[in-house]
Amino acid sequence: MNTRKTELMVGFFVILTVAATLLLAMKVVNQGFSNNESSYTLYAKFDNIGGLKTRSAVKVGGVTVGRVESIYLDPEDFNPVVVLSVSQQYDNFPDTSSVAILTSGLLGEQYIGFQPGFAFDDFVTLADGDYIQDTKSALVLEDLIGQFLFSRDSE
């Protein structure tokens, strides 16, 4: 085996590896909103977060604008607090905006649906560290069935 041919084949091997890595990096891996992008933090307090997880998407009309940074329980009133990390690109949401926990599809993942409020003439925008006041909790199937049975009983 002469050296030049060996080197050529090893070169091809390296090119193939780079191509495989590029395929993984470009097509396979999540390249949407990442934490490297500059972002600001918002807080939202819910009664029940259902199956929401960290890194779940925050969407405005279907467009992902951020991710759930962390979830913890408020030690005083025992309500879950969700920390949202929203891209700095979208920094002019009115403070009358509301958030709801929605499900994509029947069995899909849960995400945060962000509903921007009306922009009046002198509206205040949500800034880093603000709490979103208007929140709607996740629908829990058991609660829903319970309510349905209860309302049927009372008829």
Binding site: M1, T3, T6, E7, M9, V10, F12, F13, V14, L16, T17, A19, A20, T21, L23, L24, A25, K27, V28, V29, N30, Q31, G32, L107
Partner: protein
């Protein structure tokens, strides 16, 4: 009483051979890199890496295709065939890519390394090198160790990428899963650091273990034809067991608790 003696003897034996293996590895790797050795390493990358490419690519393709087929039949029952992409990609990147590559590598390249070095020892080529004041650890062992450690992660990456394309071939082109949802749900699920980088780390660990076992078994073989055949068998058995055992430990560390 005799079994206690036997136990002690075999324990000492194991510890001694582990020590010899460690000395061999440090003797080979803790040395200044020479330009000449880079050339030798390149030659070995050709032997260990490039010549394993075909088997790796073909098995990657078929494993991806089989997973897509099996996954589809199960997922379609829940109407969740869109999740075929992440299923194929995650299992390839996290488990099958590194593990199957390591097993194939042990069978394809590890056994060859053992036989080659064992035969060098049996025909006293290693001693001749030493007589010529050439350190066989640095001239023969070091390029092969480096070649193994460099090649296997590359092979694992190629394996995963081809497997995902194979899954696409069966899932999308044959069974009719939507191409957009195959890729987009995969992208939404797979994470670079958590899945890809951990898979590469796994395969680097496997590469070190498999090449180390293969070369040490050859270097330490009884220099007879029987001894070499035994060493070659042991290489494949030990490295396969080590890879599967380590895989569990690494998976537990990487993906186990959070």
């Amino acid at each position: 009483m005799s079994w206690v003696i036997q136990l002690g003897a075999s324990t000492l034996d194991n510890i001694r051979s582990f020590g010899r293996a460690f000395l061999m590895l440090t003797g080979a790797l803790i040395a200044l890199p020479q330009l000449k050795n880079v050339r030798l390493t390149l030659q070995q990358i050709y032997v260990v890496g490039v010549q394993s490419l075909l088997i790796i690519m073909v098995s990657g393709l078929f494993i991806g295709m089989v997973m897509a087929l099996q996954g589809y039949t199960i997922l379609v029952g829940y109407g969740a065939e869109g999740s075929l992409g992440p299923m194929v990609a995650l299992s390839l990147l996290r488990e099958l890519g590194p593990v199957v590559t390591a097993l194939l590598f042990a069978g394809r390249a590890g056994s060859a390394l053992t036989a080659e070095i064992g035969l060098m020892k049996a025909t006293e080529q290693l001693s001749s090198l030493e007589m010529m004041a050439v350190d066989p650890l640095r001239r023969v062992v070091a390029p092969r160790v480096w070649a193994g450690i460099i090649s296997m992660p590359m092979l694992a990456l190629i394996f995963s990428a081809i497997g995902i394309l194979g899954g696409h071939l069966v899932g999308v082109d044959w069974l009719g899963v939507d191409s957009g949802s195959y890729w987009s749900i995969m992208q939404a699920t797979v994470d670079w650091n958590k899945d890809v980088v951990n898979g590469i780390l796994k395969s680097i660990v496997f590469a070190i273990v498999v090449t180390w076992i293969a070369i040490f078994k050859g270097y330490d073989a009884v220099p007879t034809s029987e001894g070499i055949s035994q060493a070659t068998t042991q290489t494949v058995v030990y490295s396969s067991l080590a890879v599967l055992g380590l895989d569990f430990v690494l998976t537990a560390l990487m993906f186990g608790i959070n």
